[in-house]
């Protein structure tokens, strides 16, 4: 049944309804501004947000949700990267452009270290990853993953309230490995070929950690678990690596979610068409995003809706570069309308962007996206929308 009075629909209820493939008052709209845009809106150096928590990124995001009048999606508690006990930090160098900070934690096998740069106007990036020497550093990491306490993981559960859904992220195995591995994605990929036995051992420990984390998260009544799988993209990875290393994580987490009645939501940007299909047949994932279209991705939204819309809520996919960053508000409106026509029919669609919006995405374009959902995404569709969708065969 559709509740007609939109005041009855909070953003959280609206999103959860769509995630369960239902129809709320309208299509929810969640441009992915999880990172750079909220930091920009603070008008402070980015290191204030990312290093000094002034304000913390999650609070900057909630302020951005209010600023744009959008539906919110809180994903700032990440089980994989959860720092508990808190890592030690030491500022090594500060210039006008960046602050370099060493992070470390001691384990019975020795110290785990990471060197991170916090630029003044961009998010932080890792200069030196945790795993530099395979033989020396992997035992420390395995100990850390086995012993990391998770009791405080969902401590920010209250922050988003009815402004949006609360999700806790768990990285796919590729996401985890790229995060910890020194030498970047290329080295991380080569490890699968050069250190296969060691990678299998690390994978097993990670699966055990993921099981522990997922059970804890559903127990804490999170609205969803986000399978953070940017690095699982087939722009970076391959179907065989996805099947061997990531799919077991996705199956495990989505199965735990299904049993607990919690949404399992996967983000895999770039080329992901094949991953959508694999997940459709082999997992309990409920939501797939961001369904990036060419040139960055390979997803056709209407096609995915037709083939997999009976299982997945789809979230996407207005292009972040061509449209959100470099297009006009009219371009945004047109592409948003096309997305709604392609995927909103019957519910189970969240209007969003094809990946995270860049820092300099114009405010007018973000407002245009949100307005498009309110204007063209109403349920039940009005006559004009029905005719338009009929014309386009959506």
């Amino acid at each position: 049944m559709i509740m007609r009075n939109s005041s009855e629909w909070t953003p959280r209820k609206r999103i959860l309804t769509a995630m369960r493939r239902g129809m709320a008052d309208r299509v929810p709209v969640i441009p992915d501004i999880s990172n750079m845009v909220p930091a920009r809106l603070t008008r402070k150096p980015f290191w204030d947000v990312y290093l000094h928590d002034d304000p913390p990124l999650d609070e900057a995001y909630i302020n951005a949700v209010k600023h744009y009048g959008m539906d919110g999606w809180y994903i700032y508690d990440n089980a994989t990267m959860h720092e508990e006990p808190r890592w030690n930090r030491k500022i090594l160098n500060k210039t006008d452009e960046e602050i370099r900070v060493e992070h470390w934690i001691d384990t019975p096998h020795g110290r785990l270290e990471q060197l991170i740069s916090y630029p003044v106007n961009d998010p932080p990036w890792t200069i030196r990853g945790i795993i530099r020497n395979f033989k020396e550093d992997v035992p420390k990491l395995l100990w850390y993953m086995k012993h990391k306490p998770l009791e405080t993981l969902c401590r920010h559960r209250w922050k988003i309230g009815e402004l949006g859904v609360y999700g806790v992220a768990i990285e796919t195995f590729m996401g985890f490995w790229v995060w910890v591995r020194d030498g970047g994605s290329m080295q991380a990929i080569m490890d699968f070929f050069e250190q296969p036995e060691m990678m299998k051992e690390i994978h097993q420990v990670y699966l055990e950690f993921v099981e522990r984390a997922a059970n804890h998260i559903v127990h804490e009544k999170s609205d969803e678990i986000l399978l953070a799988g940017s690095a699982s993209s087939l722009s970076l990875s391959s179907p065989s690596i996805y099947r061997e290393y990531d799919l077991p994580v996705v199956k495990l987490v989505s199965s735990i979610c299904r049993k607990a009645g919690v949404i399992a939501h996967q983000h895999t940007c770039g080329r992901s068409d094949m991953i959508v299909e694999i997940n459709y047949h082999e997992t309990d994932v409920n939501v797939m995003e961001p369904l990036e279209r060419p040139p960055g991705g390979d997803v056709n939204l209407a096609d995915v809706k037709q083939k997999f819309g009976d299982k997945f809520c789809l979230k996407g996919n207005v292009n972040t570069f061509e449209t959100m960053l470099n297009g006009s508000p009219k371009d945004v409106e047109e592409e948003a309308k096309a997305c709604i026509d392609a995927a909103a029919s019957g519910g189970g669609f969240i209007l969003s962007t094809g990946d995270q919006c860049g820092r300099d995405t114009p405010d007018d374009n973000l407002f245009a996206l949100i307005e498009a959902a309110k204007m063209y995404g109403r349920y039940p569709p009005d006559k004009q929308t029905r005719e338009r969708v009929g014309e386009h065969g959506g």
Binding site: W125, M186, F193, L234, L236, P239, N326, G358
Partner: protein
């Protein structure tokens, strides 16, 4: 016999079998096959097939990296013989990700595919200042300078780099190509780059076009 071994080399390279690629390379050299033939009819041909497959989504980055790793191992074996025979590369390309940007996957892939096409690559890495680019141009005198940027903020440093190099009078014998997720042809035109490539395969085509 030689053709069959070269075909085996191409197949092993496509499959990323590093040890086999090295073994066949050594066997061909022992049989007296000219290193230039091994390079052109084995490695370059093999990597061009890899590029084609990548373009058609029949190969993925990890598999391309395996093939590239096999090619580099073979090149190590070949290098002294190529030097002995004075076989020259198709041209020098200096590559780097501009200042403030640590992203390197696309840039590395461009380097791999160009190397696989017979070009000599001088990779300056990431977070490269205009001064570092200029020094490399003076030292190596490349035919092509490739600038990469992933971020919308750092792409502006492409213009700074181009302006700096132009100000030093270093552009007359060199073309500048830019690429990266946030970059488009229009931006290349605006900042005075000579070309734009949307991916590694397009970068190889653009370099070949400029050096034809």
């Amino acid at each position: 016999m030689e053709d069959k071994a070269l075909q085996d080399l191409v197949t092993a390279l496509e499959n990323g079998y590093r040890d086999r690629v090295v073994k066949i390379t050594q066997e061909l050299l022992e049989k007296g096959v000219a290193p230039e033939i091994i390079l052109k009819s084995g490695l370059i041909l093999g990597m061009s097939l890899v590029g084609e497959k990548m373009k058609k989504n029949e190969m993925y980055l990890p598999e391309v990296l395996l093939s590239a790793s096999a090619m580099q191992s073979s090149l190590k074996v070949l290098k002294p013989y190529l030097a002995r025979d004075r076989v020259e590369s198709r041209g020098k390309v200096v590559l780097g990700t501009v200042k403030g940007d640590m992203h390197d996957i696309g840039k590395n892939l461009v380097g791999i595919m160009l190397q696989g096409s017979g070009f000599e690559i001088i990779d300056l890495g990431t977070n490269v200042t205009p001064e570092m680019f200029a020094d490399a141009v003076k030292t190596h005198q490349p035919a092509i300078l490739g600038l990469s940027a992933m971020l919308t903020t750092t792409m502006l440093n492409m213009k700074t780099t181009i302006d700096y190099i132009g100000g030093l009078g270093l552009r007359s014998k060199m073309r500048i190509i830019i690429g990266g997720a946030s970059v488009r042809q229009q931006f290349a035109d605006e900042i005075g780059a000579d070309g734009y490539a949307r991916d590694a395969v397009a970068a190889v085509e653009k370099v070949k076009e400029f050096l034809a």
